[in-house]
């Protein structure tokens, strides 16, 4: 069953590139049906995890340390649901939004390739396989950033591609050293071998390489330079995909899987993670406040919110991990929604500069209301989902006796609120700009997807109800808390 995640998405990508040239409707239908199927499958995987806790799928019938295996545990199921929910809603949004670009089938084909890559990264239990899927997703995203082939987009894409290739090289070098040290590529087996051989300086060097490589992929602050260029330049649905899930799956997920489950987390690594998180949180939000380009502002906020996630997971306590993962889910929802809103504004007014907007609330009620919900959610106002996750993060900081970090988190939240007040004031409230008299609300598929996102924002806090948490968040937290026991559950099962 697990292989279906990869089969469906890859199959859809190739089918679209084969037949999509002729009819646009075919592309729309294939992409939406396949992402919907993936979403249903990922929901199903939650129940599977509840029942069996860990499922190991042997590709080609080869037993794990020899062959490649796919592993589904709580953490993977959590990430799968996040990824496939967001990609399904974005596929709906793209039906109308991508009309303004030519070659829609190429877009869908690359989009499905990216989804396939990310599904593969989440599911795989083999470290080189992880690298291959990571490259599939990143190469597709380089191409998608340049999709508009305008000057800025090409420039951003080139920058993104060069930095991305450097990070992939670091990761590949790390994998090579790891293979030389442990003579195996299966992640569970690597973990066992390291536990037997003991900690050595090779592992330290590999950790540094992985930290740099995956740090670049997840745009933590010293490595963030590509993100504010790449995310705004892409088409809005791709910006939502990049900010919403790509940096989390390629960056955070792989980082956590490797550091928590394979190497076994140490105090030093946790300190580094919290420090990186705190720096990203503050730097991202400070840079965001001064921006006038709507999408660029949102891109800087992605850096800052990723900082929250890493800071919270870096605390290492169960509550901290819970807060971090919940914020990861929430961030992918509201940041995708904000990018879709910015896409809707751009679609209607052909403009991203906040200074030239104003009073859009009269003309575009759906866009402005959903963006209001998302803004409140990202700045942590109750009762939206962002509030609950930030509350848990701050509580976790206090519980771990790190008052300074809690203080940083609160400051970040206040500054986020300030910058989103600015967005609301200049873009949606106030008097209608005279040049914008003729704009209309966006088409139906875009509205539908934004409304669903907003509804999830509104009711996301309900996921903390104990009964629902047992299904969604608790298994994921357990996987990270149990650490290197991952090896025994994979190889034993």
């Amino acid at each position: 069953m697990l292989a279906l995640f990869i089969v469906i998405s890859l199959g859809a990508a190739f089918l679209i590139s084969l037949f999509g040239r002729k009819s646009k409707v075919f592309c729309d239908i294939t992409c939406n049906i396949s992402t919907f199927a993936l979403f249903l499958l990922s929901l199903n995987s939650l129940f599977v995890v509840r029942q069996y806790s860990t499922v190991v799928y042997k590709i080609g019938g080869w037993i794990p340390p020899l062959g490649i295996c796919l592993v589904l545990d709580g953490f993977s199921a959590f990430m799968l649901v996040t990824l496939n929910l967001v990609s399904f809603l974005i596929a709906i949004y793209s039906i109308n939004y991508m009309e303004k670009y030519t070659d829609k089938y190429k877009f869908y084909s690359l989009f499905m390739l990216m989804v396939a890559g990310m599904n593969g990264v989440i599911l795989t239990g083999d470290i080189f396989n992880l690298f291959v899927f990571l490259e599939i997703a990143s190469v597709a995203s380089y191409a998608l950033v340049a999709f508009g082939v305008e000057a800025e987009e090409l420039e951003a894409s080139f920058k993104y591609a060069v930095i991305g290739v450097i990070s992939s090289s670091f990761i590949l070098l790390g994998i090579g050293l790891l293979y030389a040290y442990t003579s195996t590529l299966n992640m569970a087996d690597i973990s066992l071998t390291i536990a037997q051989k003991g900690f050595s300086s090779v592992i330290l060097f590999v950790s540094v390489l992985f930290m740099a490589g995956f740090g670049i992929k997840s745009a933590l602050v010293p490595f963030h330079a590509w993100l504010p260029d790449a995310h705004p330049s892409a088409p809005a649905s791709i910006s939502a995909m990049l900010s919403g899930v790509l940096i989390k799956v390629l960056g955070i997920y792989s980082l956590m899987r490797i550091f928590f489950n394979i190497f076994g987390v140490t105090e030093v690594m946790l300190t580094i993670l919290t420090a990186l998180g705190a720096i990203s949180l503050l730097v991202g939000v400070f840079l965001a406040i001064g921006q006038w380009d709507l999408k660029r502002l949102l891109a800087y906020h992605s850096i800052s919110q990723i900082g929250y996630v890493v800071l919270s997971i870096g605390l290492g306590t169960p509550l901290g991990i819970l807060g971090g993962l919940f914020h990861l889910f929430n961030h992918s929802i509201f940041k995708s929604l904000l990018f879709l809103n910015s896409g809707a504004v751009e679609y209607a007014t052909d403009n991203r500069d906040l200074k030239k907007m104003g009073g859009l609330k009269e003309k575009m009620p759906v866009t402005s209301n959903t963006s209001w919900i998302a803004s409140m959610s990202i700045s942590g106002i109750p009762p939206f989902n962002g509030f609950w996750s930030k509350l848990i993060i701050i509580l976790a900081c206090v519980q771990a006796d790190r008052i300074g970090l809690a203080f940083i988190a609160v400051i970040g939240s206040i500054l986020t609120l300030a910058s989103f007040m600015k967005v609301q004031k200049f873009a949606f409230l106030g008097k209608l700009n005279t040049t914008l008299d003729k704009i209309k609300e966006v088409p139906v598929s875009m509205r539908l997807s934004m409304i669903i996102f907003a509804a999830i924002c509104l009711f996301g806090g309900l996921l903390l109800i104990p009964h629902l948490m047992e299904y969604f968040l608790k298994p994921a937290v357990n996987v990270l808390v149990s650490g290197t026991e991952y090896a025994f559950t994979v190889l034993g099962g």
Binding site: V132, Y142, L154, A161, G176
Partner: protein, 112 residues
């Protein structure tokens, strides 16, 4: 041991080329050098003293072979490198269309 070190030197040369050079084409060449350094490193990991190529042939025993897994991995990473390189060259050509230069200090419309 020194061969591994030389690999790292080659990798550093590529990294230096990517970070320091201003011409887009030279940056792409730097990326290629980095990839080759890593590929070389993998092959060297696999090598054992006086090993022979890991090919199964009729009537020969499986003895004294070098490790075949890194070689298989390298084939994959070469394919990935090829696709990335092709994409980068394509983007570079398009950039030349728009800006009429390969100098990255002159290609900076994105700021902030």
């Amino acid at each position: 041991m020194s061969v591994y070190f030389l690999c790292l030197v080659l990798f550093s040369i590529g990294l230096y080329c990517v970070l320091r050079k201003r011409n887009i084409i030279k940056i792409i060449i730097g990326i290629a050098i980095m990839e080759y350094a890593i590929n070389l490193f993998f092959i060297l990991i696999a090598y054992r003293w006086q090993g022979r190529a890991p090919i199964m042939a009729q009537g020969r025993e499986i003895l004294g072979m070098v490790d075949p897994i890194p070689q298989a991995l390298i084939l994959t990473s070469i394919v990935i490198g090829l696709s990335v390189l092709a994409l980068l060259v394509g983007i570079a050509l398009r950039i030349f269309d728009k800006y009429n230069t390969f100098d990255i200090t002159k290609i900076k419309r994105l700021k902030g």
